[in-house]
């Protein structure tokens, strides 16, 4: 064997390995497609039943999409770390002496891909169920909003998922810790999506300021998460 245990691989290779592993496990287990997606779809339908008014639904469609995304985020994050803690793989990653910030980015990117797939379905669901319209300029805003908001949610979800991975009662602890932190994403993404949908007469241009907030949130938790993740996993 050519390599020895002291061989260091680049951060990029670790990010890729962790990302591919998480996606491969999702493709094999289909938790997002078979469990999370139906759950999120049901939430959207329940909102439609509860509000039962086209005008109201069109006005609040953006918020409902992001609320359903947030509820689903908890399940996806818990699943993402359950696969690492079920048989002690997280411990093995620690002992492997690899850069844990690379593990953070690998898991966050995989989480973001799953969230984006979910959000596409939810937005399509909003168009069908709540009868919202999206103009061409609104679509550009919507895509930007999805990318920025998802990045922020993926970073903060991975950070807090790591924090609660080994904790007792993590199923309830994660939403309790995560909900207050992601409130700015919920507000900003909702406002931007409402602008993209033109809900309540909102102009598309009004949404771009909120995109700035989403980008700042993603940047803060991307940098902060990469710095803190290793220590959190280690303790």
């Amino acid at each position: 064997m050519k390599s020895d245990s002291s061989t260091r691989v680049s951060r990029g290779k670790v990010v890729t390995a962790v990302f591919l592993k998480d996606i491969q496990i999702e493709l094999r287990s289909r938790v997002v497609t078979n469990q999370v997606l139906p759950f999120a779809g049901l939430v959207m339908v329940m909102f439609a039943f509860a509000l039962d008014n086209d005008d109201v639904l069109q006005r609040v469609a953006g918020g409902l999409v992001w609320l359903a995304t947030l509820f689903s985020l908890f399940i996806i994050v818990q699943r993402s770390f359950a696969i690492d803690t079920a048989d002690g793989a997280l411990d093995s990653l620690r002992v492997a002496g690899i850069d844990l910030s690379a593990v953070f980015f690998g898991k966050a990117i995989a989480l973001a891909i799953k969230l984006i797939a979910l959000e596409i379905v939810l937005i399509c669901g909003a168009v069908l169920l709540y009868r919202v319209d999206v103009s061409a300029t609104g679509l550009v805003l919507l895509v930007t909003c999805v990318i920025c908001a998802t990045s922020g949610l993926a970073f903060v979800g991975t950070l807090y998922g790591g924090l609660t991975a080994g904790a007792k009662g993590r199923e309830t602890l994660l939403p309790l810790l995560l909900l207050p932190v992601v409130a700015p994403v919920l507000i900003a993404a909702t406002r931007a999506t409402e602008a993209a949908f033109g809900s309540g007469g909102a102009q598309t241009s009004e949404g771009w300021a909120w995109i700035g907030l989403l980008a700042v949130f993603a940047a803060v938790f991307g940098v902060g998460g990469s710095l803190a993740f290793g220590s959190l996993i280690d303790e």
Binding site: M1, K2, S3, D4, S6, I25, D87
Partner: protein, 211 residues
């Protein structure tokens, strides 16, 4: 010395799991840790791997000072605890590929490790979730072989293995020793373990003594 502990105290869950442990282990030894449940064997193995902070004393593993920096030792040791560290939704080969990518090992390294542990036939394409406990253990050991760890820290490595698997494991550990690795393992199967070990240490009440 590969491992040198002097008056080491490790506190785990507000309890001094190691309370002044002093011992040394030389290169190429296969050392058995014996002692009752809760004696501190697992804590000792995890402290050697740099996973637990040392509250007092001095500790060196593979020339790394665990008091000042317990992280740099990690890519030199291989720890196999009660869990196997495997991903159950992936196949044996996919698990091996993942760990090899993380540490930069080649495909040939993976094939060799799988051959040594008898995983290269139809088992390679089997999902870990569908393996028996012994087969999972063999897969976990194969990941240590790929990593070519200089110090193998094994907690109950024989657990869940059938007789053939135990024989294979003993053979693997002896081969690792011949290749220059040092092995420290905890076991309750004293007869088999004593045959395998070159030396025994007893862990009791947080202290370590020669057996």
């Amino acid at each position: 010395m590969v491992v040198s502990f002097s008056d080491v105290v490790v506190v785990y869950d507000n309890f001094p799991a190691l309370a002044g442990a002093t011992f040394e282990i030389s290169r190429g030894e296969i050392v058995l840790l014996q002692g009752p449940n809760g004696a501190g064997k697992t804590t000792l193995l995890r402290a050697c791997a740099g996973l637990l902070p040392i509250a007092r004393g001095s500790a060196t593993v593979l020339s790394c000072d665990l008091i000042n920096d317990r992280y740099s030792v990690r890519n030199k040791v291989g720890l196999l605890g009660h869990a196997n560290g495997l991903f159950h939704d992936l196949t044996v080969e996919e698990n091996m590929s993942f760990w090899s990518r993380l540490i930069g090992a080649s495909n040939q390294d993976v094939k060799t490790a799988m051959q040594i542990m008898g995983l290269s036939d139809r088992l390679s394409a089997t999902r870990v979730a569908n393996l028996s406990a012994g087969q999972k253990r063999r897969c976990a050991l194969a990941t240590l072989i790929v990593r070519r760890a200089q110090l193998w820290l094994l907690d109950e490595p024989h657990a869940g293995l059938d007789t053939q698997g135990r024989d294979e494991l003993d053979k693997t550990l002896r081969a690792a020793r011949e290749a220059g690795a040092t092995v420290v393992f905890a076991s309750h199967e004293i007869d088999r373990a004593r045959n395998l070990a070159t030396r025994s240490l007893t862990v009791a009440g947080g202290l370590v003594t020669e057996s």
